[in-house]
Amino acid sequence: MQHTFGSPRELADGLATVGYLADEALSMAVFLALRLNRPLLLEGANGVGKTEIAKALADLLGRDLVRLQCYEGIDASQALYDWHYARQLLDMRASDRTSSADVFTREYLLPRPLLTALETGDRTVLLIDEIDRADDEFEAFLLELLSDFAVTIPEIGRVVASSPPLVVLTSNRTRDLHTALRRRCLYHWVGHPDAEREFRILQVRAPQVPAALARRVAQAVQRIRALGLGNPPGVGETIDWANALHVTGSATLTPDEAAATLGALVKDVDDQQLVAERITELVPTTP
């Protein structure tokens, strides 16, 4: 099923139906990535929902999500393709010695995420997650894929996507990405949501949490992020915290309950201490 969206606003409305609340800038970025067939590079702090965007898009567009989690040392045989060595070896030895068995053809190829995405084309959303964790060599290897939606396999030739897949790259900025990669992509910085949007996210993602509690959680999280913690909580943690408070039977947010369930929100002992010291100003007793 192929959807077309006339404007960024329509796209944002569409994303809202699958439970992702995108702001104006993000919907513009995604809209253009779809229309211009360009990869979309998303950067931002941990836990702001970069990966979720790709999932929501796959959901919305009715496409399969092909995910490639990057790590240091990832190479072509894990990302693109590998040969089925056992079969190649067996067939080579079993084949009639007079015929020339070619064991470097498509049927001996094991597709990995990138090749799968190229072969299925616009029926997939390709998520290249945490590209900054891969090394420079892998980044260089991606350049052909990102500009032409094609890869070259030496033994077979060039594999070109019949129709370009939607490619989403995410980065946490643990390393500077090369300009060559940035230039091939559209770029968007994903920031933490403001209190109002976070409240709406809570209502969508944790509907069982009462609205009054959700609103106070969203406000408290805003104040906690402003403290300048080492690891400021992401949206995922906000949802966890709201759920934790709900499970423990809190109808509203009090400093005591906040302190007791803080482990769901702040996951560093120094940060927890900092928050605990100021819990009464962060979570005022009167709304």
Binding site: A29, L41, E43, D75, M92, R93, R183
Partner: protein
């Protein structure tokens, strides 16, 4: 409301030009993307124009401010037509006009002297070099500083390494290279006679300099920056931050081949030369922005400061503790330590010291050599 601008190739190209003048490098394909993008939008509001431009023309968050300025100048310029942009002077030009009279502490381009360095070096006798090596950077006159700069360039460090996760082809190694083995087996009738191997190579850890550029540190900071430049051009992965009133990342500026050109670029980028010191706060800023970055996590971090800090020492202590946890090794160069009577008693230095692995003076050439030796020692220990 739609924009009063006609979406034309000229408009896009003009905007790209404006961006370049604001220091945002754009490629023709990005300009093409902007042009195509604007034709995908029905009624282009100014806000759409802004967002579409940012998504296509900018590749990093650091450039958003420059983009905003370029956008204002081009689309909201004085005459409002957008056809002619407000004249914007290049940031480099501004920097050059800032310091017409270079002071001792402020670096400036001196290409003429730079050419003489090698000749000078040849004229120095071994005993001259020894005297120069022992002399504090602060006590040197212009001539000696130039000679010392030539000597700094000859320094090289043996940085600690770590095992890479990537596997490369090798004659011997613990991993089997199935692909290459099979290729070889084809020639021998499908019989794998020689097994090809892969192994994990080692990679050099990055070295990161955090240089205090407050007034009292100026001569030493310059020498350390020269040293960092020498290492960068010897092929090491070097990152440099300056701290003082605020933190600035100057790695890009240091990439210039000519050290004096690099230093004058740094002078333009760093605004707090000879300013006061808020060491704790600016170090915390570096960690906040780059704590997860490879420039800090798992790197060898060399802080160069006299430890005179106007901040609460607790801030510096917390920052150093954090740094020590995430970095591979933390070294501290304190020029005051060059005096044998020196004791690290200032509150800032005392707070930082428990979180420092190697504490060196770094006030003259000999102590920079000691730094190289210390780096090699770290490598031997971690190997």
């Amino acid at each position: 409301m739609t924009t009063p601008f006609e979406i034309s190739a000229r408009l896009c190209a003009g905007f790209a030009d404006q961006l370049r003048r604001h220091g945002v490098e754009t490629s023709p394909e990005q300009t093409t993307a902007l042009y195509a993008a604007l034709h995908q939008l029905d009624r282009v509001r100014l806000r759409d124009l802004y967002l579409a431009g940012r998504v296509t023309m900018v590749g990093a968050r650091e450039q958003f401010t420059a983009y905003d300025a370029a956008f204002r100048a081009y689309f909201l310029g004085a005459d409002g037509t957008g056809a002619t942009a407000v004249a914007v002077s290049r940031p480099v030009a501004v920097a050059e006009s800032r310091s017409p009279e270079p002071t001792a502490g402020t670096p400036s381009a001196r290409p003429a002297e730079d050419a003489d360095d090698e000749v000078d070096h040849a004229r120095l006798t071994p005993s001259d070099i020894q005297v120069l090596k022992e002399k504090s950077f602060a006590a040197m006159d212009a001539d000696e500083r130039r000679r010392a700069a030539a000597l700094v360039r000859t320094l090289d460090a043996d940085l600690p390494r770590r095992r890479s996760r990537r596997r490369v082809r090798a004659h011997r190694g613990r991993h089997l290279d199935t692909r290459r083995s099979l290729r070889a087996a084809l020639r021998t009738d499908g019989e794998p006679i020689r097994l090809a191997r892969r192994r994990n190579p080692t990679r050099e850890r990055p070295i990161t300099f955090v240089v205090d550029v407050s007034g009292s540190m100026a001569p030493y900071a310059l020498a350390v920056l020269r040293f960092a430049h020498a290492l960068a051009h010897a092929g090491h992965r070097v990152e440099v931050f300056t701290v003082g009133v605020r933190a600035t990342r100057i790695t890009e500026q240091l990439r210039r081949t000519c050290v004096d050109a690099a230093l004058s670029r740094i002078a333009a980028a760093v605004r707090d030369w000879d300013g006061g010191t808020r060491l704790g706060t600016s170090l915390a800023t570096v960690l906040d922005r780059y704590g997860g970055h490879r420039a800090v996590r798992g790197a060898v971090v060399v802080v160069c400061s006299d430890g005179l800090d106007r901040d609460d020492p607790a801030i510096l202590a917390t920052a150093m503790q954090h740094l020590h946890r995430i970095a591979h090794r933390v070294m501290w160069l304190n020029p005051l330590k060059g005096d044998p009577r020196y004791r690290p008693l200032q509150r800032g230095m005392a707070a930082a010291l428990p979180h420092v692995d190697v504490f060196l003076p770094g006030h003259n050439l000999t102590s920079l050599e000691q730094l190289c030796a210390a780096l090699a020692a770290v490598r031997r220990r971690s190997a």
